[in-house]
């Protein structure tokens, strides 16, 4: 128990009203003034001095503490970055979380933590951090982008598209144009994966309007436009690239593919030829070029051909297909006995469907084609085909049927067969 004592005189005299009052009373009973005894003043002065010293010391300790925390936060943050680079998102998340515990208000740490959590597929945790960040900065591009990736992982197309859009329109600190272009690419790819071709087309069109400046990005855009069936725009982009850099083999190759998609074989062949010329190491372009040249060589429907040439090409196509069929049936060990049913004379493999159910073993498509080929073989000659344009079509149809039927059974094929198969796949589009 404290004993409140004072060594001062028995009474105080109030400095305001002059009244005497007991020494153990702090307050003058007459006027209510606090009796500022010498000891009170000293205590107050010492208290103030101690508070001042306390302020200075606390400031020092706080500064030291904050420096330690900042250093630790940074160390854990760097560790988190290393873990992310090593594709260890769980470890990175733990490191980022530790960094955040030392600097809870650091949005960068929180964002990296959220990104690590998204990468680790811990989407609920990531969402909570992102929500917190988003509330602070709803227009932050990176936060919106991470949110978009989170929803993309969840398969929530609506929210993913919404946040991608927010990210595109959001604030970016460094090179905003490039970031926006990248995000639109990402969004377009996401939409394409989700088979939302129309939406992807509109995003790519927006990219086209506010085009990427890097040739690599332009090529990427051309490629994606090609994937969403916009080859005309791919050609536009490639022409733009080639205007600035006519020796860009990649642009030539992509242009060739776009022209091919547009069935402009001649132009495509020229484009591939340019691509190979500028970069002979482009294997794909070389293969495409060879194929196109072969197509152009064997295609009987190409414009400007004389009737004789057309017949000659059709006959050659027929024989190529016949040889292909023979080689394939040999590889597969198929018995080529002629079918007994009269309907088996039909050359088209589709005819197999109408084979009489009463036959013991229904003929295979290759058998049907073989028997059809045997029947046609004698009639498919240059002379006969020159006289009868319908026979040209029939011979070509047979060749296409053979190539289609054998493509899956015997994948190994020569260039002529590849060309025929190519024509078979484009038979309804005609040669431009």
């Amino acid at each position: 128990m404290p004993v409140v004592t004072d060594s001062a005189p028995v009474t105080h005299r109030c400095t305001r009203c002059g009244a005497d009052f007991p020494v153990d009373s702090l307050q003058c009973p007459s006027c209510g003034r606090v009796a500022g005894t010498q000891s009170t003043k000293i205590v107050l002065a010492v208290t103030l001095l101690l508070i001042l010293i306390g302020l200075i010391l606390t400031q020092y300790f706080v500064a030291l503490h904050k420096a330690t925390e900042a250093s630790l936060a940074n160390r854990w943050f760097v560790r988190g970055g290393e873990a992310m680079q090593a594709h260890l998102p769980d470890a990175a998340a733990q490191d980022y979380r530790t960094a955040l515990s030392y600097d809870p208000e650091n949005p960068e740490y929180r964002l990296r933590l959220a990104q690590a959590l998204v990468a680790a597929n811990r989407l609920n945790e990531a969402r909570a951090h992102l929500t917190s960040l988003w509330e602070q900065a709803p227009s932050n591009g990176e936060v919106n982008l991470t949110f978009a990736r989170l929803y993309a992982r969840r398969g929530d197309l609506k929210n993913a598209a919404r946040y991608y859009s927010n990210a595109i329109n959001g604030i970016w600190q460094d090179d905003p144009h490039k970031r926006r272009v990248d995000i639109r690419f990402e969004l377009s790819e996401y939409l394409m994966k989700q088979h939302k071709t129309t939406q992807a087309q509109s995003e790519l069109m927006a990219l086209l309007a506010d085009g990427p400046r890097e040739p690599a990005d332009q090529l990427r855009l051309g490629e994606m436009l090609l994937q969403v069936n916009e080859p005309e725009h791919t050609v536009e982009i490639d022409n733009a690239i080639l205007t600035n850099n006519p020796s860009s083999a990649d642009a030539w190759q992509q242009k060739g593919q776009a022209l091919l998609a547009l069935d402009k074989y001649v132009d495509a062949e020229q484009a591939f030829s340019q691509a190979v010329e500028h970069n002979p190491n482009l294997g794909d372009a070389q293969r495409q070029l060879d194929l196109l040249r072969e197509v152009l060589r064997i295609d009987p429907s190409r414009r400007g051909l004389s009737r004789t040439d057309r017949a000659k090409r059709a006959a050659e196509a027929f024989h190529t297909a016949w040889n292909r069929l023979n080689s394939c049936v040999k590889q597969q060990g198929v018995t080529l006995a002629p079918p007994t049913s009269p309907t088996s004379a039909q050359p088209s493999p589709t005819a197999a469907a109408v084979v009489d159910d009463t036959s013991v073993t229904p003929p295979s498509p290759l058998q049907l084609l073989y028997s059809g080929g045997l029947q046609k073989q004698s009639t498919v000659t240059d002379t006969a085909l020159r006289e009868d344009s319908d026979a040209i079509d029939s011979a070509m149809q047979y060749a296409f049927d053979v190539e289609r039927a054998t493509a899956s059974v015997c994948p190994q094929m020569g260039l002529s067969d590849q060309a025929l198969l190519f024509l078979a796949q484009h038979e309804n589009e005609g040669v431009k």
Binding site: L26, V43, L50, T58, T131
Partner: protein
């Protein structure tokens, strides 16, 4: 012209030459001295007390900032910088620290034991506000070591005691009166808590609800001032970020309240389990031989270390993990498990006598249990769009209301730490349910329980609230026969009282004043006097209103045989009279369990 003007505008450029009309430099300084003299700035005691409150707030704020830094420093040194400490550290740090803490507490700082709330309350009610300075130092060291080493305790209650101890020391040095010395400890307590929590309103409410026990205007200003000063200091040094980053929440549908009500029920029973567990374990450990007390904190530390290997979240105050719970970083199973483990580990730490607080562990339990309930409800009722963070936040308030039984504080604490006032309805609902459950099955609140285990009987606001408040209307009787007015002449009055058996009459005078006269005195007056009673009766009698507490009647009645009870809207209308006997009868009746007593029989 003022002295300043005289110096600023010298005439004829003779600034340095004093003239008759221009004050001299000496006169100027004399005037200035007069203006700044101590007499001019002398303070009344109330003002001086407020000034002290500010100083106490600043000093407490500084101490608490240092205390928190000390805890962080020790945590870093003992458990390392990672969130997942290594196994040897988890085992050794709390155990070895426990040995040191036990030695320090038993040998040097015996009063540093426990949370600090009851010790402050005891200082207020038993020791005239006296908290020894060594206790403050001991509390600082041992609590920092305990929390920093991973014991499952919090820094708030020790901060409260540190603040109270500093205030008490200052009050003693200033030789404050006994009354003021008693009051100054809660002022420091509020300051300490405000700095620890970064929540001044919560601190003020808690000190009033739990430490002082009643709302008294005399101290409220000082408590508020000290809490604010302390919070300002804390924010100055450590920043003004809220304790938790709470996700945005809006009550979308009234049906959501059902979800929060279920949280209130679960939180209420969880609170009950914790309180019962501590109430059982603490005396059991105290009954063990005295030498075991040297090892009890170490044993608690060892067990907590076992838990901490797999769940380091339960070690220490755990604020960062509460934040994680709010951000859905655990599954509901993990959250529930963490809630249970925290109950176990906090009970162990606290019952073993390790110094440290219950605030943070209570909030931790609440956050985990709230989060678990929220996530489980999301799985059961997927269309409920309430963020888990809201459940965690409301869970904190729920457990706070259920365990610490400070319902007002629990509501305002959530509002203050979240800064979101739209959450108030769910908070009140859930807290009220938890409070009700806890009170029903555990009538004595935890702090009262602990103080009684320590052999102290400290007043409890909750128990005082239970007592019926007697009012004047419970004791007054009808004013039958009390018909004298100030306008009556003495003769009329004498005639009037002639046949009355009343011994004393209250007399309504003009200007809403009342007086009274005994029958004997009235009859002894000269009968032929034409003077009205209002001129004869000079003494004024205090009056009461029916809603006044009966205590007011006791204070005012003095030597008067009767006091008038009058209408509040018409101060001349007599509703009844009350005598000392009436008052005592009412009190006796209340003591026997009667809420209303029959008034004394009226003598016509």
């Amino acid at each position: 012209m003022s002295p300043q003007e005289a110096i600023a505008k010298p005439q004829d450029g003779s600034a340095l030459k004093p003239s008759v009309s221009t004050p001299t430099r000496r006169q100027y300084w004399s005037t200035l001295r007069t203006m700044l003299s101590p007499q001019r700035f002398s303070l009344r005691e109330e003002q001086f007390f407020l000034l002290l409150a500010v100083l106490i707030g600043i000093a407490s704020g500084l101490s608490v900032v240092c205390f928190r830094i000390c805890i962080d420093f020790l945590h870093l040194k003992l458990l390392g910088s990672g969130l997942q400490p290594s196994v040897p550290r988890v085992f050794l740090a709390p155990m070895l620290s426990g040995l040191v803490i036990a030695f320090l507490v038993i040998r040097f700082f015996p009063r540093a034991r426990g949370s600090g709330v009851n010790q402050t309350k005891a200082a207020l009610y038993i020791y005239d506000g006296y908290i020894p300075m060594p206790t403050v130092v001991g509390k600082f060291i041992t609590s920092a070591l305990a929390i920093g080493s991973g014991q499952s305790l919090g820094p708030e209650d020790p901060s409260l005691q540190i603040g109270a101890g500093l205030a008490s020391a200052l009050g003693r040095r200033l030789k404050l009166s006994r009354e003021k010395l008693r009051l100054i400890a809660p002022v420091g307590a509020a300051a300490g808590l405000a700095a620890a929590f970064n929540a001044p309103i919560t601190a003020v409410l808690f000190v009033i609800e739990e430490v002082i026990g009643r709302w008294t205007a005399g101290i409220l200003g000082a408590v508020v001032l000290s809490a604010i000063s302390s919070a300002v200091v804390e924010r100055w040094f450590l920043g003004d970020e809220p304790l938790f980053r709470v996700p945005a929440y809006h009550l979308e549908h009234v049906g959501e309240l059902g979800a929060y009500a279920s949280l209130g029920v679960i939180g209420g029973f969880a609170s009950l389990i914790f309180v019962k567990y501590v109430a059982y374990l603490r005396p059991k450990l105290r009954e063990l031989p005295p030498w075991t007390q040297y090892f009890q904190p170490a044993a608690a530390g060892l067990l907590i270390g076992f838990i901490g290997i797999k769940f380091p979240q339960v070690m220490g105050a755990g604020y960062s993990y509460m934040d994680q719970a709010m951000h859905e970083q655990y599954t509901w199973q993990i959250l529930a498990l963490l809630g249970v483990l925290k109950i176990v580990s906090t009970g162990l730490s606290f019952a073993s006598g390790t110094p440290g607080g219950l605030f943070a562990p209570t909030l931790f339990m609440g956050a985990m249990i709230g989060g678990a309930v929220g996530m489980a409800e999301h799985q059961i009722v997927p269309y409920l769009a309430i963020p888990v963070g809201s459940y965690a936040l409301i869970g904190m308030g729920t457990l706070f209301a259920g365990i610490l039984r400070a319902p007002m504080t629990s509501v305002f604490m959530i509002l203050e730490v979240s800064g979101n006032y739209s959450i108030i309805v769910p908070v009140i609902l859930s807290n009220a349910i938890a409070y009700f459950i806890s009170r029903t099955f555990q009538p004595t609140p935890i702090f009262d329980l602990l103080s009684r285990q320590d052999g102290l009987d400290l007043p409890s606001l909750e128990e005082e609230r239970e007592l019926p408040l007697l009012r004047v209307e419970d004791a007054m009787r009808p004013p039958i026969g009390q018909d004298l007015t100030g306008r009556m002449t003495v003769k009329e009055a004498q005639e009037h009282v002639q046949g009355s058996a009343q011994e004393f009459f209250v007399v309504g005078l003009a200007d809403d004043e009342w007086s009274g006269i005994s029958r004997t005195n009235l009859l002894e007056m000269t009968p032929d006097s034409d003077l009205p009673l209002s001129e004869v009766l000079t003494a004024r009698i205090p009056y009461l209103h029916p809603d006044h507490p009966l205590d007011t009647a006791l204070r005012l009645i003095g030597e008067w045989p009767l006091l008038p009870v009058i209408h509040r809207a018409n101060l001349r209308r007599l509703l009844g009279v009350v005598s000392l006997d009436d008052v005592m009868r009412a009190y006796r009746g209340a003591g026997m369990g009667e809420t209303h007593t029959e008034p004394a029989p009226v003598v016509p």
